[in-house]
Amino acid sequence: MIVQFLVGIIIGGIPLSVSLLLAGLGEMFTQRSGVFNLGVEGIMMLSAFIGFFTVYTIGSPILGIIAAMAVGALMGLLMGLVSITFKAEQGITGIGLFMFGWGLSGTLFRVYVGGVTTIKGIDGINIPVLSKLPVIGPILFNQNPLVYVAYILVPVASWLLFKTSWGLKVRAVGTTPAAADTVGINVVKIRYQSLVIGGIMAGLAGAYLSICQAHLFADNITAGRGFIAVALVYFGRWKPSGIMGGALLFSMAHSFQRLIQVYGINFPYEIAVIIPYVLVIVVLALTWKSQSLGPLALGKPYDREFRG
């Protein structure tokens, strides 16, 4: 019974973590380069719609995912245009981007689809033999393909950020952009690239929600997951492994509270529902270390002429 309950928590928690993990990893690159993109939620919403709409009209989930990622990249560029080139305040720009994505996705959905419609989408894959293994079978070998993609992207992101020269440039630009500039790193270019990567990842997260998890689109489908992803970047101290840990902790806590309710364990549901949020805040408070680990120039538009 206990084993069954624990396996139930993990099986239920993993699908939940995927959109947070993907969007969080993307936002990590963005923030590492010094741009604070609060618009992840909007990017996810618009790409969830575009992904859904592509599957709805053309029928190909793969094309849907690609289209969603392309939209994410464009949204990243838009954020870059306003916050890097025009040097607008990043927080406000991000909220604008969120509202833009929310409004546009809702409007397009209204005009071109009209009402709630389900799509075929991508279901979980059942790896033969292996998925029949006790305990680890259903956990490891019976998941949606994007689940594997998301978790493979964790070491990939880590390698990209810490082992490549591009990653070094991203970190330099996010910490001391003026110094990076003097050694010939193109601050604007690196920040744009990071924003585009962040947008693509948020787009993938959105596509996962509509194409893999819900198999439909509805207004406000992301329901705050984009903002949680932004919070998880801080939680994970701008490290892929930390973000993965945060996404897992949050999702497992969610899965746990759901199972408490489903199994009718006598526990006030209001408290159960806030467990994940409380847990994240508590861990964040207990593990607070010096700010120097993070990108010091986060949130500051870079201006060559300005000596700060």
Partner: protein
Amino acid sequence: MKRFFSLVLMVLLISVSTTVFANGSKEKAESGVIKIALVIPSTIDDMAWSEAMYNGILAVQKKMGKDKLKLDVSERLWNAVDAGSAIRQYASEGYNIVIAHGAQYQSLLNDIAPDFPKTTFAYGTGYAADQPNIFAYDPFAQQGAYLLGMIAGLKTKTNIIGIVGPVESGDAIKYNKGFELGVKAVNPKAKVRIAYTGSFGDLVAAGEIAKSQIAAGADILTGTAQQSVGAIRVAEGAGNVFWLSSDMDQSSLAPKTVLAAQAYNFSKVIEEMIDSRSKGVLGGKHIPLTLKNGMEEIVYNPQLASEITPDMKAKIDAAEKKINDGTLKISVE
């Protein structure tokens, strides 16, 4: 200059993003024309609570003619502060009936209504009509839910029935209690498991709860609010799981899964308000939506008609009769 451009771009973005919100028309109300404004927390196509009301008004509009009933809608006004300014604006623009479709708007209307004594305001779910120009409409969710619970109790094979709830409040409590009583009335051995998402609109979370419910053995699911749409899709994907709908007939979403629905006939609520106004009564009334007055009804999915045997139908009809003549009282305390 760049800052100026960024400002322009931001304004542009925000204005594009808000085009969804309908604009109230400014012309004066002509005599004989009724202008209705509807303020809803989600959208007119949410396949649940808001759409049921929107469809109700459209049905009345069709009956009366488009030139006799004008309708404007403001969507996504979950936030009471935003809703308040929309309601006030509609009232000051001369709308005859302003409907704030949600229990959360009650105190707002109590604030605004005295300033516009010639305007009728309405909100629901609620029973308190504290001002002479406020109608409170009140779906007796427990009645239809009781009958749906009977269907669930009779249909379940695993004796586990799952409820995917939004937030434990008002309608959801009434619905869940009524449903549970209905199940127990025909199948005392069956277990009813309730799990809440904590949100009215999170479809993905509702879908995940439905998955957990099915994994834990449930073969009949039900749920309320717009979030339920996400759970229906999961029930459909699982195969051999039935869904029982609330608020409106959702069988178009999953014709092989949605067995029956408890649907609200908001058109009759609207008609009663219009009728009442024509007699000079602008509000102050509590309008219950019951099976008896036809504002609430059970709709069976014709594609799954064979699933409801004549024997089951007879039991359900008998219970409905008892509810209507008052011999069967469904307590939600």
